[in-house]
């Protein structure tokens, strides 16, 4: 998305991202157990889930060098998901669709939402992969 279109969107009060609910992510939002509940149940004191840093790494690597360049100097297509756009979309989605989800779970949902909305991921493909990963994780 270009800077000018974002400016126009902001002035018009429009969302920067398509916030149409994505069924797969809605289902996770509804049925997923968040870390603060799991930690309380199991008596774990770590305030963050173990996947928080791997999530941060995914966000950073998708952003390439856009984190350290002024926005107007980020070459279109130079990275998969510019950091400023991802953060702006996360802010919007956190205030709307995923408002009731704590952090960092909502950061994860927002990232997946941004990636699906941009065509970086396909919802059905992601659902299928989650099935495979879930079976693997629970096969011990």
């Amino acid at each position: 998305m270009s800077a000018s279109s974002n400016d126009a969107n902001a002035e018009n009060g429009e969302m920067l991202i398509d916030a149409t609910p994505i069924p797969l992510l809605r289902s996770i939002q509804a049925h997923g157990r968040v870390w603060e509940d799991l930690a309380a149940q199991y008596g774990v004191t770590n305030p963050d889930p173990p996947w928080k840093i791997t999530l941060e790494a995914t966000c950073d690597l998708l952003a390439g060098d856009s984190c350290v360049k002024p926005y107007d100097q980020v070459e279109p297509g130079s990275c998969a998901l510019p950091s400023l756009e991802r953060r702006a979309e996360e802010d919007e989605l956190s205030a709307t669709l995923y408002e009731d989800v704590p952090f960092p779970e909502r950061q994860l949902l927002a990232l997946a939402h941004s990636m699906i909305a941009r065509g970086l991921l396909d919802e059905a493909e992601l659902a299928s992969r989650m099935e495979v990963v879930g079976q693997r994780f629970n096969s011990a």
């Binding site: 009060g13 930690a39 008596g43 995914t58 950073d60 350290v68 802010d91 994860l108 992601l126 990963v133």
Partner: protein, 241 residues
């Protein structure tokens, strides 16, 4: 060893509790990551290297920088003049940190050390997103990322600091430093009374993450950060980037 080994007796230690359950969120994180790697958006090796690097980060280097500066006036001058150079003394090299070595220099940027005085208090924000000096301060707290903090701090810094429990006299000027992609900040608070004769290690312990962001001041005996309820912003979020 005896053949009989029951577990009625105390081994003297217990394993730390762990979450014995896989959540949908954990599965989602892995699935997103695996697909991104398969699609060539980044490599597994880069991801592993980055995660290993991030695991090494925390607020201790920044706290030690402040403690050293409190004890060494020449080092304090260096901190003010060149934060990147001063960081090397606490083991942080902004120019060669791992991100720059594999093509993701997301933390390579300028560092400025904002030195408080008895009449000037600095506090840091990133009003645009959540830029943070991770190589020297670790991961940002949740409240730092919220539009609520980012918007209100620049408008009502004194009141927002009060919400953190930091009441400043009216004669103290508050300066808000707004981070960006290239320049990030840490605050060097005034050394508190009651720390005369303390070692660098002792001083390092009381320079908390919150002190380094500027929402707290160090006090002898206080080594933890504030736990703040996270509030949402009332108005819709719009970025004009």
């Amino acid at each position: 060893m005896s053949d009989h080994h029951d577990h009625d007796h105390d081994h003297g230690h217990k394993p730390a509790p762990m979450v014995d359950e896989v959540s949908h969120f954990e599965i989602l994180e892995m699935a997103v990551r695996e697909l991104a790697i398969e699609k060539g958006l980044f490599t597994a090796e880069d991801h592993r290297t980055w995660v290993e690097y991030v695991h090494t980060l925390g607020p201790t280097p920044a706290a030690r920088l402040v403690a050293k500066a409190w004890l060494d006036p020449e080092y304090k001058k260096l901190c003010e003049a060149d934060g990147v150079e001063a960081s090397k003394a606490v083991g942080v090299n902004w120019g060669t940190s791992p991100p720059t070595q594999f093509g993701t220099p997301s933390d390579y940027c300028n560092l400025r050390v904002l030195v408080d005085t008895p009449t000037v208090k600095h506090v840091v924000v990133c009003s645009l997103c959540s830029c943070y000096p991770r190589p020297i301060l670790g991961q940002s707290p949740e409240w730092y990322r919220t539009p609520n903090y980012r918007r209100r701090l620049v408008r009502w810094p004194r009141q927002v600091l009060t919400e953190f429990g930091l009441q400043l006299p009216s004669e103290v000027t508050i300066r808000v430093a707004d981070s960006n992609q290239k320049t990030r900040y840490i605050v060097m608070p005034v050394r508190p009374e009651g720390t005369e004769g303390w070692t660098e290690d002792q001083l390092t312990e009381i320079v908390t993450r919150d002190c380094l962001i500027g929402v707290a001041v160090p006090k002898p005996g206080i080594t933890t950060n504030v736990k703040l309820p996270v509030r949402k912003a009332i108005h819709p979020v719009h970025h004009d980037h």
